[in-house]
C-alpha cells in the first residue's frame, strides 16, 4: 500500500496544507495541482516579460521549506507547478533545495506547433462550440496538451525526489505514483481507471474532506484546521480516502460522492489521456471514521485524441458596483441600472454584452433566486464586455456619477472606478495522440 496526499487543489489554495500533510503523519507521495484552465495564459505572459518566469512561483519556496523532511521521510513530490516553463521551475527548486533530485516532464507545450498542426489539416475545432481554431489563430496566447500519468511515472522512475510538469490531467498526478510503484501497464484499464477515480476525488484538496460540503456543514469539525486528503492505494486498484488524525473536516461517502460528481460530464465516459473511467462502476463504503473505501472501478482503452487547452485574447471587460439603502432599495438599484444603460446608449458605445446583478436579491441564482421583500440594502453590479477597450474604459466612468445624478441613497463607491481587464478565454480542442512526444529530463 502507498499513501498519496494532495496538498493543493489550485494555485492560491491554502499555503499551510502541504506542510501539514508532511508533518501530520505518514505519506509516501505529495501531489500539488496548481493549474486551472486559464492559469497557463497568465504564466505565458509572465514568461514573455521574463524568460526565467512562467511557473507557479509558490512552489520552489514551499519545497525549500519542507526539503529536509521530504528527504528524511523519503516523500516524493509530483506537481504541475512547471506551467509554461518547467525547466526554470526545476532550476528554482534546485536552488531552494540543493539536496533534492529534480526531474521535469516536457512536451505538453504546443504553442509553436499550431501552424504545423493547422497545415496538417487538424482544425482543432472548439469542443464546445464546433468553431475551427483558424477563427482565433492570431489571438492565441498559450497552447498546451493535457499529458497523462505514464510520462510522470517515467520521471519518478529516475529516482527523482521532485517531479515537475506543465499541463497534465489533474488526476494523473495521483495515478503516476501508482503506476511507478505497482508497475501497472497501459492496458491495465480497470486499475488505471481506479487510480484516476482516486485522483479525481483528491485533486481539489479539501473539497473531498469537508470543504464546500453541504452535508451537515454547521457541525463540520474544526474547519480552521481542515485535513487535506490522503489516498491509501492498493496494488489491485482499490483505495481508501482518509486524512491525518487530529485534523479538521470530515471524510464520509456523502462528501466523497459530492466530489466525484464535481465537474464531470457523461459519468460512463470520464476521459483522461491514460484511460476512460466509468464512474457508474464505483463502489463506495464507509469503513471507519474519516475513511471511505473505493473499489470495483471499470475502465476502457485510452482515447486516440488528446485534449489541448488553448487560451486566447477575447476582448475586455469591467464591472462596477453601487449600494442603495432602504427604503425601496431594489427599486433604486434598478433605476440606477436603467440610467446607466441609457447613458451608454446615448454615448453610442457598443458592447457584446451588458449584464446586471443585484447582490442580496439575485446575483448568484438569477431568476431562480427566492423572492426578497424590502431588504435594508442592495448592491447593483453592472458589467460590460466587448472588443473595444475604449468603450469599456468609458463605461468605468459612468457608475460613480449616479451618486449625485440618480436615485437617493447611493453609496459604496469608495474603491473608485472599476478596472478594465483583458478577457483571456479558453479553447478546448483535440490533437491526435501521435503528434505529442513527451520526454523526461533530470535537472542538475
Amino acid at each position: 500500500m502507498i499513501r498519496i496526499a494532495n496538498g493543493q487543489g489550485f494555485w492560491g489554495d491554502w499555503l499551510e496544507a502541504p506542510v501539514r500533510l508532511v508533518d501530520g503523519g505518514p505519506i509516501d507521495y505529495l501531489t500539488l495541482d496548481y493549474l486551472a484552465e486559464v492559469t497557463m495564459s497568465i504564466l505565458q505572459k509572465q514568461r514573455q516579460a521574463d524568460p526565467q518566469l512562467g511557473y507557479a512561483r509558490d512552489f520552489p519556496p514551499l519545497i525549500g521549506r519542507i526539503a529536509k523532511k521530504l528527504q528524511e521521510r523519503r516523500i516524493k513530490v509530483v506537481a504541475n507547478a512547471g506551467g509554461v516553463n518547467p525547466v526554470a521551475c526545476a532550476r528554482a527548486v534546485r536552488k531552494a533545495a540543493p539536496g533534492l533530485k529534480v526531474a521535469v516532464v516536457l512536451g505538453d507545450d504546443v504553442l509553436d506547433r499550431i501552424d504545423d498542426f493547422l497545415g496538417k489539416g487538424f482544425e482543432m475545432r472548439n469542443i464546445d462550440t464546433g468553431e475551427p481554431l483558424a477563427t482565433i489563430r492570431d489571438r492565441i496566447l498559450s497552447a498546451n496538451v493535457y499529458i497523462g500519468a505514464f510520462p510522470l511515472a517515467e520521471a519518478l522512475a529516475t529516482g527523482a525526489d521532485v517531479v515537475i510538469c506543465g499541463r497534465c490531467a489533474d488526476a494523473a498526478l495521483v495515478l503516476a505514483p501508482m503506476i511507478d510503484r505497482f508497475g501497472w501497464t497501459a492496458d491495465d484499464w480497470d486499475k488505471l481507471a481506479s487510480g484516476i477515480v482516486a485522483g479525481h476525488i483528491i485533486e481539489c484538496g479539501a473539497q473531498c474532506s469537508g470543504g464546500n460540503c453541504q452535508v451537515d456543514w454547521q457541525n463540520m469539525p474544526d474547519f480552521a484546521n481542515i485535513g487535506y486528503p490522503i489516498v491509501e492505494a492498493e496494488p489491485d486498484g482499490s483505495f481508501t480516502v482518509t486524512k491525518h488524525p487530529g485534523t479538521g473536516g470530515r471524510i464520509d461517502t456523502h462528501g466523497v460522492k459530492e466530489q466525484l460528481l464535481y465537474e464531470i460530464g457523461d459519468p460512463t465516459q470520464y476521459n483522461t489521456p491514460d484511460v476512460v473511467a466509468d464512474f457508474t462502476s464505483i463502489q463506495l463504503e464507509d469503513t471507519g471514521p474519516d475513511r471511505v473505501r473505493g473499489s470495483g472501478v471499470r475502465g476502457g482503452p485510452r482515447p486516440p485524441m488528446l485534449k489541448a487547452s488553448i487560451s486566447y485574447d477575447a476582448g475586455w471587460k469591467a464591472s462596477g458596483t453601487l449600494v442603495y439603502s432602504w427604503p425601496q432599495a431594489i427599486e433604486k438599484a434598478r433605476v440606477a441600472d436603467r440610467i446607466t444603460r441609457q447613458r451608454l446608449e446615448q454615448l453610442g458605445l457598443r458592447f457584446d454584452e451588458i449584464h446586471s446583478e443585484y447582490f442580496g436579491v439575485n446575483a448568484c441564482h438569477g431568476p431562480a433566486a427566492r423572492p426578497v421583500h424590502d431588504p435594508p440594502e442592495v448592491q447593483v453590479r453592472i458589467s460590460v464586455r466587448g472588443s473595444d477597450k475604449r468603450a469599456v474604459d468609458r463605461f468605468t466612468r459612468e457608475m460613480i456619477p449616479l451618486v449625485l445624478t440618480g436615485p437617493p441613497g447611493g453609496t459604496g463607491y469608495g474603491e473608485g472606478r472599476p478596472e478594465v481587464r483583458q478577457i483571456v478565454a479558453y479553447w478546448p480542442a483535440l490533437i491526435p495522440r501521435g503528434e505529442i512526444r513527451t520526454r523526461v529530463e533530470v535537472v542538475e
Binding site: 460530464g265 431568476p367 431562480a368
Partner: protein, 110 residues
C-alpha cells in the same frame, strides 16, 4: 406532498466551459427513485429559466444514488468570458435545492 429537493438530496455544482454541472445525491438509497421521477431535465430547465440558454442533459449513477445534470449554455459564456458573479456555477447546486418536488408520505422511509 410538495417539498423542496433539499428534503431528499444534496448537491454540488461546477463548470466545464459554458456548461454548468450539478451533481444531485440522494440522502438515502431509497430516495433515488424519487430523484429519477422528480428531477427531470425539463423541470430543471424550467426551474432555472433564462439562466440556462441551452438544453439540460441528465445522467444516472445508480451506484452512487445520484444524478449528474449538465446545463448547456448555463454560465453566460463560461470561464473568464462570463460577466456573472458566479461564472463557474458554484452556487447553482444550492439554488436547485429549492426546486419543489412531489413526494408521497410513504416514500419517505426515515
Amino acid at each position: 406532498m410538495k417539498m423542496p429537493l433539499s428534503r431528499i438530496a444534496h448537491t454540488r455544482s461546477g463548470d466545464k466551459g459554458d456548461i454548468a454541472n450539478i451533481g444531485v445525491i440522494a440522502w438515502l438509497p431509497g430516495y433515488y427513485p424519487i430523484l429519477l421521477r422528480e428531477v427531470t431535465p425539463a423541470r430543471v430547465k424550467d426551474f432555472f429559466g433564462e439562466l440556462v440558454k441551452g438544453e439540460v442533459d441528465r445522467f444516472e449513477l445508480p451506484n452512487l444514488h445520484a444524478l449528474n445534470l449538465l446545463l448547456h449554455r448555463g454560465l453566460g459564456g463560461g470561464g473568464t468570458v462570463s460577466l456573472r458573479t458566479d461564472a463557474q456555477g458554484k452556487t447553482l447546486g444550492a439554488a436547485l435545492l429549492a426546486m419543489e418536488i412531489d413526494v408521497d408520505d410513504g416514500e419517505l422511509t426515515d
